[in-house]
């Protein structure tokens, strides 16, 4: 009995090959199977969820990949002068430098002005205390657009 079973297992592939080989399976599939319909039934989302990108990434030997890269060839193929010109044109370095230095200068001058205004206040109070005056009246003529004046500081 066992010998018969072994004989059948031996014959099965040969029979299948003998039956299928004459057939044009590709043509048969394209004629009889609707691949689009089949594809629609595949839940790609579910497949994607089962993929572990980290596991894949861990399996990649980045160093080995990098070693195989011919960076010189890549760099040589780049049009670096044009690339640099385009980047500089987008950034407008001159304007950037102008703005940053202008802001720095403006901030420094503002700080000097604040310090001097505070010093004005301190000196005025000191003198006023000596001559026993209560306060100064600093209302100025006109109304500059920037003024939000009080009459003392």
């Amino acid at each position: 009995m066992q010998a018969a079973a072994a004989f059948v297992r031996e014959l099965e592939p040969r029979i299948a090959r003998a039956v299928l080989e004459p057939l044009d399976l590709t043509a048969l599939m394209s004629e009889s199977v609707d691949l689009d319909e089949l594809a629609e039934q595949i839940d790609v989302q579910r497949i994607a969820e089962r993929i572990d990108p980290n596991a894949i990434a861990e399996g990649i030997d980045v160093d080995r990949v990098a070693e195989r890269l011919d960076l010189d060839a890549i760099v040589l193929r780049l049009d670096l002068p044009t690339l640099v010109e385009d980047v500089l044109a987008e950034i407008d370095v001159a304007d950037l430098i102008r703005q940053s230095t202008g802001t720095l200068t403006g901030d420094a001058i503002d700080e000097v002005r604040y310090v001097s205004v505070d010093a004005d206040r301190v000196v005025a109070r000191f003198v006023d205390r000596i001559i026993r005056r209560r306060k100064r009246h600093l209302d100025a003529p006109g109304e500059p657009e920037s003024a939000a004046g009080r009459n003392e500081i």
Binding site: D110, A119, A124, A140, P141, E143, S146, A147, G149, I153
Partner: protein, 172 residues
């Protein structure tokens, strides 16, 4: 273009400036004129040296240099005050000289103030004790030095222009 002042700077804009700010601005102005004067003297020496082939600083003497500096200082202050109300020093310190209407001085007024400041600089010290932060020159010529960080110029004073009352304060 509308200029936006820092919120911290707004409360004192338009008020009369105190002695420290004014002294610093004046010191800067004197420095600028001193540099220009020195440059002129050196330049003159250089031109003279071209004749005899030797370079030596031949000044017109201390008095000559002093008078040249005083003349340049008057010219410098006059131009600054009569055009923008500011000199380099006042521009840096955020100050402006205005007349009794809070407007830019007329050229004549600017010249008088410049002469008064150069001839009698001690008058500026009156700012220390003045209850209105005014120098003697300010008292006599009815001018004020105000904090004004805004680049916008005040209106030009016109001799016969009607005095606007709205928003304008006449001071003593």
């Amino acid at each position: 273009m509308t200029e936006v002042l820092p919120a911290r700077a707004r409360p004192f804009q338009g008020l009369r400036a105190g002695p420290v700010s004014r002294a610093l601005a004046s010191a800067l102005d004197v420095g600028v004129v001193a540099l220009v004067t020195a440059g002129l003297v050196m330049g003159w020496s250089l031109i003279e040296s071209l004749g005899d082939g030797t370079f030596a600083v031949s000044t017109p003497g201390p008095l000559g240099v002093f008078l040249l500096g005083e003349f340049l200082l008057v010219l410098y202050l006059w131009i600054g005050w009569a055009t923008t109300g500011r000199t380099v020093g006042k521009q840096i310190m955020g100050l402006r000289v205005v007349n009794h209407r809070g407007e830019l001085m007329r050229p004549g007024g600017g010249l008088l103030r410049a002469l008064a400041c150069v001839v009698f600089p001690l008058g500026l010290a009156w700012t220390l004790v003045s209850s209105h932060n005014r120098s003697l020159q300010d008292v006599v010529l009815q001018t004020s030095v105000i904090y004004d960080w805004n680049a916008r110029l005040p209106e030009r004073s016109a001799r016969h222009a009607p005095l606007e009352t709205g928003g304008q304060r006449r001071v003593e």
